[in-house]
Structures are given as structure tokens and as C-alpha cells.
């Protein structure tokens, strides 16, 4: 009887992606401070409403790394959750981004800019040989999301 084909053992490290999803709700207003009301309306539409408006943001953070041969994990998800909460959720959830969360006092908090800011905050925590930040995907609504990979 033929023996079974050799299988890759658990000892060889394999690359994999892991994605953690979190939600936060925040309000914002998209308007460039130097522009006229009319110009902001024409570029940002209802997002330029001077009183602001809100979204339930959904953030998906993708990390890449090698699977530890003993634990079978790339990274401890508890640690990932702690970092996402500390750097993003605790600071942005139930806030008016323009007024309460720098740098959005000077930068328009579009989904694009929020994703880039989230990348900036998370990148130092996931920048080792073992685990790297690969992508930030931010859903502003269920129908619209942006992706940023640090480019």
C-alpha cells in the first residue's frame, strides 16, 4: 500500500493575513476652511452641512505575518483589539471628529483622510518582522468604503 503523500508540517512558518473588524460612530463635516459655503457645497454636497452629520463607521484592519509553529497564531487577537480600541475606537467613537479629534481640526475628515490617519496611528504597533500592517479598510456606510495600504 502506498503511503500518504507527505504533508507540510506545522513547523514550517506560513504567511497569512488576519483581519479584525471594529465599529465606531462619529460625526463629521466635510468642508475646506478657506472655501466659501457655496464652493464647499458644490464639492462635498450634503457632507458640507455646517452642523455636521454622522456615520456608523466599520473599520477592518488587515495584518500579515507568519504563523508561530507552537501557538498556531500570527498575533494575539486580544492585543490587536486592545490597540485598535486605544488608538482608534476610544478616541473617535461618539465624537465630533472636526472639533475633538486632531488632526481633523485642520484636515477634512473624509473617509480617505480618516483611513490614512488610522494607518498612521496603527503602523508603529504592527511594524515588526513577525507582524505587519497591510491594509486599512474603512466603511463610511455599507455601500462605500476606502482602502489604504500606506502607499
Amino acid at each position: 500500500m502506498e503511503s500518504a503523500p507527505p504533508r507540510q508540517t506545522s513547523k514550517k512558518k506560513k504567511s497569512m493575513l488576519i483581519t479584525r473588524r471594529v465599529e465606531f460612530s462619529a460625526s463629521h463635516r466635510c468642508a475646506v476652511p478657506g472655501w466659501s459655503e457655496e464652493k464647499n457645497r458644490s464639492v462635498f454636497g450634503p457632507d458640507a452641512n455646517p452642523f455636521g452629520h454622522g456615520h456608523n463607521y466599520v473599520l477592518e484592519v488587515t495584518l500579515g505575518g507568519k504563523v508561530d509553529p507552537i501557538t498556531g497564531m500570527i498575533v494575539d487577537l486580544k492585543d490587536v483589539k486592545t490597540i485598535l480600541n486605544r488608538e482608534v475606537v476610544d478616541q473617535m467613537d461618539h465624537r465630533y471628529l472636526n472639533a475633538e479629534v486632531p488632526p481633523f481640526d485642520t484636515i477634512v475628515p473624509t473617509a480617505e483622510n480618516i483611513a490614512r490617519e488610522i494607518w498612521r496611528r496603527l503602523h508603529p504597533h504592527f511594524n515588526s518582522d513577525d507582524v505587519q500592517l497591510r491594509q486599512v479598510r474603512l466603511y463610511e456606510t455599507e455601500s462605500l468604503y476606502v482602502e489604504y495600504s500606506g502607499e
Binding site: 503523500p5 507527505p6 506545522s10 497569512m16 479584525r20 473588524r21 504563523v67 507552537i70 501557538t71 497564531m73
Partner: protein, 144 residues
Amino acid sequence: MKLTSRYMFSASHRLHSHELSEQQNWDTYGRCNNQHGHGHNYSLEVTLAGSPDTLSGLLCDRDQLDRLVEEEILSRVRHVNLNEQVAEFGQLVPTTENVAFVFTSWLKQGWSRHFAKSPVELDRVRIYETRNNRFEIEANEVKQ
């Protein structure tokens, strides 16, 4: 072009490494180390890559893909205790990283029985452990 099909299954597991002490296991896996195990409704996404057939417009036969996944994966893991009832996890800790690896290996081993005559290739496997955690492995990371 890529085509992804999604499947659901429910199974239990316990994260516990024979190479770690009781305390190390608890420190590493926390609640997932509970000696009685716990379960998830897993969602599995299998992605194939290829070119749609010029006549049929199909990248692959959907029934063939469903049969591949049913026979090679779902029939072995549906409503089971992964640690106790799946040989691969006798030693290998059934973290979802390792589950993704084993599933990819199974698909590659069974591939020729299902897709021998089709130019389509296995591209990647993605598993959602919960709505909030998903794991993805490229097929070329796994030999067989």
C-alpha cells in the same frame, strides 16, 4: 478573474498546545483554552482564479466547486469537535490560522479528483471565525 464561493459550518475547538504548560496555555489562549472547548459558526470562502470559458462565460462549474468543498472539507468538519474528531488537529492546535492551512491542504490534495480537466486554479482560502475575525491564506503558501 477570480470567483469566490462561501460556505458555512459549525464546529467546536479548544486552543491548547501540548508544547506549552497549563499556565502558558492559559496566558496564550485565554478563554479559548477552556478545557471543555467552545464553538463557532465559521464562514469559509474559497476563491478560484482563471479565465471564463468563451462559450459558457463560466470561470468554473459551480456544482463541481460545491462538491469539492463538500467532500474535501465540509463533510469532515460539520458539527464536529475539531480537536477530537479531525486527525490533523490531534497535535496541531486548531487556531483558525491552522484551520485555514489544513483546509487549503485538503483542497489541493483533492483538487485533481474534481478539477483535473479544468484550467482553473485554487487562489486562496478565507475563514471567518466570527464576524469580526477573518484569516486568509494564499494557496501557494501550502504545498499539499
